[in-house]
Structures are given as C-alpha cells and as structure tokens.
C-alpha cells in the first residue's frame, strides 16, 4: 500500500501515514460495523431461542436497521455522571476498554498478509493486549462510586486474571505445532484441506480447542460467565452508572473482543483464512498466477476468516441464551479445577504426539503436509524461507535449521 503510494509520487512519510490511516480506519470499521451487525443478530437469536420474533419493523422485513436506531437513540441520550464519581477516571474508562480491544486487532491477520502490523510475536501480543481490557472495567467500577459497579469490577478482575492462565496454555499449543508465534505463519501452516487444521491435528488439540472456547467466553465476559454485569444481581454491573455514548463504547469493546477471540480461534485452530476446501487453489488461483490472482486468493481468505469468526460469535450468542449463569465460586472452580489441568494435560499430550507421531496416525494420508496451500504467495511479498512449503512439518518443533529459523526475523515491510 505504502509502496503503491510512493509510486504515485508521494513522499515516503505521507505514504506511510496514509497507509497506516487506511488500516486503522478499516479495523475501526470492523469493530463498529461488526457491533452493529452482531447486536442485531444477538437480538434476533435471543428472540428465536426464547420463541419470540425479535425486532421486526425497523428498516423493513427483519428489523435489520434496529441497531442503527439503537445507535441514534444512544447518541441522543443524556450523558450522566454520579455525584460522588471520580470524574477523570469515569470519563476515561470506556476509552481504555475500547482502545485495548482495538489495539489487539492490529496484530490479527484477516487473510494471508492482510494484517495491520505483522508482528513476530502476534499471538502473544493479542493475548497481552486483550488482558488490558479489564483495566477499563476496573476503572469504571471504581470511579462510578456505586456498590454494584465495584462488585462487578472486582468479579471481573478476579475472573479475567484467573482465566488468563488456561487461555495462555491453550494458545501455546498451536504455537508449539507451528513453531512460531507469528499469526500469519500459523495460519499459513494449516493450508490445504480441512484435515490440516490444527483442530484435527490430533485428539489433544481437538479437546484443547474446547477448553480455549470456554476460556475465551469467560475472558470476554459473556454469559454464562458474565458475573461482572449479572443483571439479576448487580443491576448492570460495572456499567450501571453509564449511559449514552460512553456506555456504547463498552458495548463496542465487548463485541470487538468477541470477534477478536473468535478470529484468534479461527487462526489458531480452524485453519485461519484457509477454507475447509481449498477452493481458490482448485480453481487455479494461487502462487505464480499473477497479482490479480493474489487479490482473489486474499479475498477468498478474507471471506473465510470473517465467516469463521462470525460463526464463533454466533456460537457465543447461542451459549449465552442457552446456559444459565454460573456462580462466582463455580466460575473459579471451572477455571482452576477443570480448565487449567485439562489444558496442561492436553498440552503435554500434544507435545508427545508431535514428538512420536509427527505425520499423524496414517502418515501420508489426510495431511498433505503443505502441498496444497491456498493463499500462498511466493515472491517479494511472500514469507521468508522459514515457512517455505517444502519445509517438513516435524522439523518445526524440534527447531529445524537454526539459521533458517532465524530467517523469520526479517520482517516483510507492509
């Protein structure tokens, strides 16, 4: 993008700034537009699960303009602040939450090399930044000068800090299988048919995926883990005192995080931008067929990843409207007595599986080991040598050629 602008005759810094702005605005639109769509979807899904119709009138047939109407209503609401509140922290808290959610999107790839900033430690960055969202919640709870808010914030703090442990363990498994923390490379290593997804790599990864789902739902504070805003106990939890646009920032942060953990699950376990069937590859669009083919491949990849992440969000909604809320001790028990040990055992299991059965149960069958790679692009924009298609899958864990591994350090500028 920046190179293209430089080609137009722009000076370098203007080109880089414009490229960065475009990426930032696109990401912002993913969060804001996604929130609009998902709020409507949540209303419809909740209604259907409860045998209702949900919004039907606003905007025509399915009430698909309902979120927009909600947004306008929120804009017009009065901006209230409690008397005893800490004004600065109260005003700041929603933005802290939203910024954390937004920053994590920077490192999430949406298709091969379609990523805000390709980081060498992408997984780690996303998990680290996602954990910061709780800070806004704590500030909101403290600054609101309300007991409900404080209770909600404290529950949230305890919950998020606890669930980061099993979440980190789950995330480590695909990192171990891929031999890198670069999200783009991790996604690219699962190219091919559905069987090369890490979800189906071995039984341990299949189980740990569901542990990840549990922890992800808990870490984005959704039901049945929504202790921080338990309506029946705490009015609305940490955002009891918020109204109008500030409240909607919390809402956008929540939906942004939901989309983020779903996207992360898609990249780590569900093949990323590689569809269940390598459609683009079978149709002949792939490496070496020109620049336009690369665009087609990336568009297909984008659709794949968006579809998977959306499915993940819909799954969370399904869970939310199906399961009852857990008590706080049950939440902690789930984390410390079930999720963490299961994740640890599965981690060890996946490690030994990779050590002893690197080719799977039936070597040479079902896992093409990188012959079919959708979205793969060689050449100047492609990956460095460490992730070349010819690389043996098993060599990535034991380290492979150290020099080749170090080749990952050279980042392709974007």
């Amino acid at each position: 993008m920046a190179e293209f602008l430089i080609g137009l005759g722009l000076p370098g810094w203007v080109a880089w700034s414009i490229a960065a702005l475009v990426a930032a605005v696109l990401l912002l639109n993913v969060i804001a537009g996604g929130a609009l769509v998902f709020i409507w979807a949540e209303r419809k899904i909740a209604a259907r699960i409860q045998d209702r119709l949900g919004p039907t009138r606003t905007g025509g047939r399915f009430g698909w303009l309902q979120s927009l109407a909600d947004g306008i209503k929120l804009l017009a609401k009065e901006d209230l602040m409690p008397e005893g509140a800490d004004g600065l922290l109260f005003r700041l808290a929603p933005y802290v939450s939203f910024c954390a959610s937004f920053c994590a999107f920077i490192a999430l790839p949406f298709a091969f090399d379609v990523v805000g900033q390709r980081l060498n430690v992408g997984v780690f960055f996303v998990v680290a930044v996602l954990g910061l969202e709780v800070f806004g919640v704590i500030l909101a709870g403290y600054a609101s000068a309300s007991k409900w808010s404080l209770f909600g914030a404290m529950r949230e703090a305890a919950q998020v800090v606890s669930y980061e442990v099993p979440l980190g363990m789950c995330v480590v498994v695909p990192v171990m299988l891929a031999g890198t923390m670069d999200l783009v490379t991790i996604g690219e290593k699962q190219a091919g048919w559905m069987s090369s997804w890490y979800l189906f790599h071995d039984p341990f990864t299949f189980i740990i995926f569901w542990v990840y789902v549990t922890c992800a739902v808990a870490s984005v504070n959704r039901a049945p883990f929504d202790l921080a805003e338990a309506e029946s106990e705490l009015v609305a939890g940490f955002h009891t005192e918020y109204s109008g646009l500030r409240w909607s920032f919390f809402f956008m942060a929540e939906y942004g995080s939901m989309f983020l953990v779903s996207g992360l699950a898609a990249v780590l376990f569900l093949g990323g931008w590689n569809g269940p069937v390598p459609v683009a590859r079978l149709l002949g669009f792939s490496d070496g067929t020109g620049e336009s083919a690369a665009y087609v491949v990336r568009l297909v990849g984008l659709a794949n990843l968006m579809g998977k992440a959306t499915l993940g969000v819909l799954f969370m909604m399904w869970i939310r409207w199906t399961l009852p809320r857990l008590r706080i001790d049950q939440v902690m028990t789930t984390c410390l007595k079930y999720c963490t040990p299961i994740a640890a055992v599965m981690f060890a299991g996946a490690m030994f599986w990779q050590l002893f059965l690197p080719g799977g149960l039936f070597p040479g069958w079902g896992r093409p080991a990188g012959e079919i790679r959708e979205g793969w692009l060689e050449g100047p924009g492609g990956l460095p040598a460490a992730a070349s298609p010819a690389e043996d899958r098993s060599s990535t864990v034991t380290g492979g050629d150290p020099v080749e591994r170090a080749g990952l350090a050279t980042r392709s500028p974007r």
Binding site: A128, Y142, A157, V161, M181, S292, R405, A406, L408
Partner: protein, 265 residues
C-alpha cells in the same frame, strides 16, 4: 482459468496520469521543513515524553487508583518504546507482565483498601525529602552509567536487523543461533538452559508456596456452612469461622491447630 486473470489490475503509470493534482500537491510537501524530520526520533521522543510525564504524574498524584492508572500509561509508553525499537517480544512482555498482570493485581488490591484514609495520600515532609534523595541518587547513578557507554553517545547506526523471539527462545533451550562474538573460545557458547530451568523451578516453588499459604484450612468433614463461608469475603469468614481461614503463619499456627483439634474431634 489461470490465464484469464493473469494481468495487472492496477497499472500505476496510468493512475499517475489520472490523479496529478493530488500527487503534485503532496509531492510539494517535502519542500516544507516538516519533511526533514526524522520520524523515528519524533516517535521516540513522544513515547519517552509520555513515559516520563506519566511517571512524574504517579509521584504527583495523591489518589492511589489514579497513581495506578498513570503507572499503567507510563509502562504502556515504555512498551511503545520497545515496539519502536523492534523488540516486539519484550514490548509484548512489558504489556503482559507489567501493564496487564501486575497492575490488574495492584488495582485489585487497591480497591480492597481504598477506604477513607487511603483515598488521598499526603506524605509528610520528611518522607518527601528521603524519597527525593533516594530517587535523585538512583537517577544520577543510572544517568552516569548510561552516558558512560560510548556506543550510546553518537547517533544511531540506522536500521539494525530486528532480533525476534525465535533466537531468544532457541537460546533459552540451549541453542544459540546468533553470530558468535570474536574471541569466543570453542565450546564456550552454550545457551541459557540451566538458568532458565533454575528460574522455572524457582517460580514453581513460589507458586506452590503461594497456593499453600493462600489455601483455607479445612475441617475433616466440611459442614455446609463452611463451604458457604469459603465463598465469602475474608473478613466475614474470619468472624464467622476463625478456624477455617487461619493462615499458617508462625504466630497463629498453634492456636489454629489446637482449635482445629478441639473443634474437629
């Protein structure tokens, strides 16, 4: 099928003809003084200024929670500095450990104690003097040390290859992939596996110890009220069932034990 789309969608040369006004306008911008700025330095100064400014704000603030917030911003700006320097792993580590873990716990602790005497902290003048002397001496020591490194005095050497997490991780498990410095004896370049393992075991011991200290002493046959009490805040439990939460410290261990024996059997 492959040949059908085998052409360039966007030809740059044609586009420059289409949009000359914008391009010429923006191309004239280098004439302004703004174009000569080293943007890396500007960003560095920005992040460094943020870090220092919020660090001073931590000292100047008198509310514990606001201090914590400023500390978060200061540490976050430091993480930005790491990212700017290309040390992504350390930057993410900074976010994870300092900004995320420590400060969430800090705020968590602060909120439990943020009662009236702690909402506004006014240190006495002797405290101020003492901390000023200690801080100033530490700062002067750091500055002297930093300025005594010759390599850091001149301008930067430009783009250096960004070290990634991979060589770091490889070195931790015993494989060094970086270039050996001149004069290294053969066989003298081992990784950091032993220190890594020592630290890991040490942390594990700390973890187990913390879990042991924090766990509630249970009766042999927990009654329903105890199960309920263990889910309640500590103060409530301490008044309701002192035996259940008595920490195994040296002072109270004897009393707890005798009470346990007396009550349990």
């Amino acid at each position: 099928m492959t040949g059908m789309l085998d052409m360039d969608i966007i030809d740059i040369s044609t586009l420059t003809h289409v949009v000359p006004p914008l391009a010429t306008t923006l191309a004239a911008l280098p004439a302004l003084p703004i174009a000569g700025i080293n943007w890396h330095s500007v960003l560095f100064l920005l992040f460094a200024g943020l870090a220092c400014g919020f660090a001073i704000a931590v000292v100047a603030a008198d509310n514990v929670v606001r201090m914590a917030l400023y500390l978060v911003f200061s540490l976050g700006a430091t993480a930005g500095l790491f990212f700017l320097a290309g040390a992504e792993f350390i930057g993410a580590m900074q976010l994870m450990i300092y900004v995320g873990g420590t400060l969430v716990l800090l705020v968590f602790g602060v909120m439990l104690t943020a009662q009236a005497p702690l909402v506004s902290i006014k240190p006495s003048s002797s405290d101020r003097t003492l901390t000023a002397v200690a801080g100033a001496s530490l700062l002067s020591l750091l500055l002297t040390a930093a300025f005594s490194v010759d390599a850091w005095r001149g301008p930067g050497v430009g783009v250096v290859p960004a070290p990634s997490a991979t060589p770091l991780g490889m070195a931790l498990v015993g494989v060094r992939v970086d270039e050996p410095p001149a004069g290294t004896p053969v066989g003298g370049r081992v990784g950091y596996m032993l220190p890594f393992e020592i630290v890991s075991v040490h942390l594990l011991v700390v973890l187990v110890g913390a879990a042991y200290l924090a766990r509630a002493k249970r009766r042999r046959t927990p009654r329903p009220i105890d199960a309920l009490a263990s889910a309640m805040p500590v103060e409530t439990v301490a008044t309701a069932a002192p035996v259940a939460t008595m920490a195994p410290t040296g002072r109270s261990a004897g009393g707890a034990k005798s009470a346990l024996v007396g009550g349990g059997r």
